[in-house]
């Protein structure tokens, strides 16, 4: 299958710090990929480069075959990318329903929007809290709300930065099932995650980042067998 999202020799320096130091990544269409690595490995930086919050120091980013390295962030989103940030980035002082409407109105109008809204509310189980301010939700619910907003755009590629941070085991499991369901519907998904149980639940292929470089890449079983990976990352968990 063709790669939908690709980075070529991607580098990002912050002063003397090489946050991303030559990453070649190819995500196939319909893939569900996990990015793991110790803190400071450059995972979130990589996402920000892909979405355009940061400009790369060197290298190129390709999406659906188009070079988007210099494209503004909102245009990348309009081409079919969507992200859930590490820290929940929702509209705290607006009601749950309006958070979703703001996302949905990008792709829907009128009755279709109302239908899509009901579907999303059901998906994240927030129907009974639709009129409450997003700020009053629990941390886990806020994470879900943001996932729902990201999904509302019907993206071709969905990037999730630590979607289960702060969630209970049960919530984490449900999130995993949600991610699998979305992926089964054809959505390409890249997930940054620390929770190895979650990674095991969802991922077919895992990429390990370390010091801004791809350290290892393969199935989770292969990764776990690599002693170096265990030493730098898994061993600590």
């Amino acid at each position: 299958m063709a790669a939908i999202l690709q980075t070529r020799g991607l580098k990002k320096y912050f002063g003397g710090l090489r946050a991303i130091n030559g990453v070649d990544l190819a995500i196939d269409e319909g893939e569900l990929r996990c990015l793991i690595g110790p803190n400071g490995a450059g995972k979130s930086t990589l996402f920000k480069l892909i979405l355009g919050s940061y400009r790369p120091s060197e290298g190129a980013i390709l999406f659906k075959g188009e070079d988007i390295t210099k494209l503004q962030p909102h245009l990348r989103v309009q081409r079919g990318m969507s992200i859930k940030f590490q820290v929940p980035g929702i509209f705290l002082e607006l009601p749950v329903e309006q958070n979703l409407r703001i996302a949905l109105q990008r792709v829907h109008r009128g009755a279709a929007l109302d239908e899509a809204l009901e579907r999303l509310l059901e998906l994240i189980n927030l129907g009974h809290q639709r009129n409450e301010l997003a700020a009053s939700l629990s941390h886990g619910q806020q994470q879900w709300l943001e996932i729902a907003m990201a999904v509302a755009l019907q993206p071709a590629a969905l990037l999730l930065d630590e979607p289960t941070a702060g969630m209970s085991h049960e919530e984490t499991y449900k999130t995993g099932e949600l991610v699998k369901k979305l992926n089964a519907s054809g959505m390409t998904i890249v997930v940054i995650e620390h929770d190895m149980a979650f990674v095991r639940q969802i991922a077919k292929r895992v990429t390990v980042l370390h010091f801004g470089e791809v350290f290892d890449d393969g199935s989770l079983d292969d990764i776990v067998r690599n002693e170096d990976v265990v030493r730098i990352y898994l061993g600590k968990v």
């Binding site: 909102h74 940030f85 980035g89 929702i90 509209f91 607006l94 309006q98 703001i102 907003m149």
Partner: protein, 359 residues
Amino acid sequence: MPRWLALLDGPQTLGSGRAFWFVFALIVLVAALLPTFVNAFAVTNLTYFLVWVFMALGLSLIWGYAGILSFGQTAFFGLAGYTYGVISINLGDAGLWTWFALLMSLVLPAVLAVVIGYFMFYGGVRDVFVGIVTLSITLVFETFMAQTAGPEWTIGSARLNGFNGMSNMPPLTFPWGENPIIFDGPSFFWLVLGLVVLVYAGLRILVNSRFGNVLVAIRENPERAEMLGYNVRLYQLFVFVIGSVLAGMSGVLYTLWGYYITPSSMGLTAAALPIVWVAAGGRKDITATLLATVLLTWLSQQLAVKGSQYALIWMGVILLVVVLFAPEGLFVTVWKKLADRRRLRQVTTARKTVSLPSA
């Protein structure tokens, strides 16, 4: 009801439904009939209170809805006033020239806002720095206009006249056979009142539309708005231009109200007052802003009659009290408290109804 008209009520505006619009219509009707009851002086005063509403509504849109604190809306106010003066003094009141002058007094602030806004928003100027930039611009305008007292500062037949200000511009005049309609006194009041109603309704539709949804999204979290695919800077620029045209509308109507415009209309005090009105009422709601503006300009005038120095001090006190005790603004806070109480009562009533059979 057409879909756009339904947007008069929505999530971004307080007040909705029949009762609200009935009260609104009643107030407008009473206001429209006032000139038949009160004397000419009172009509002039009423007009004065309404003239400022446009600048306040524009600031509410920019600051309250889109989250950009502009401290220099008076730059557009003054520019519009002087533009009307220069054009109308040169072209006179024949035909539709005064209306042309009025139109240009809105076009020029729009152009200025596009230029300033472009450099601010596309240049990454954010937060408090927008306030500093816009305040600097209005102060530069004031300083510049104040030194135009000399006879060399003339545009055509219009003397700019330095800190004494420009005066004697013709009123809005509509050609009507032998007796052209001159908008002065009650007719000018009705014109301004009509514009207030139009702009208020138009803004309600705007902020409750998809556009308005994006505005509040940008206020709450610009990064998230961008990552939903919205061109944040373009929205910011657009809303800044609308707000600035409204400031210009206040400026030109003020000039037409008193037939003069002075540099101090762009000074620090003038620039601070709209912030007080908008913050005191509730910047995140245009109805609250409208009420607060009329109320506070009335209060300022009442205080000024009794001793001009104290009026501004009281405005400062009001701002302080509101910021400390009702940061969302007086009217918005009261409204929300009442709504909460009503909801609580409904819940309690519902519980009682449910528990009745078992009792």
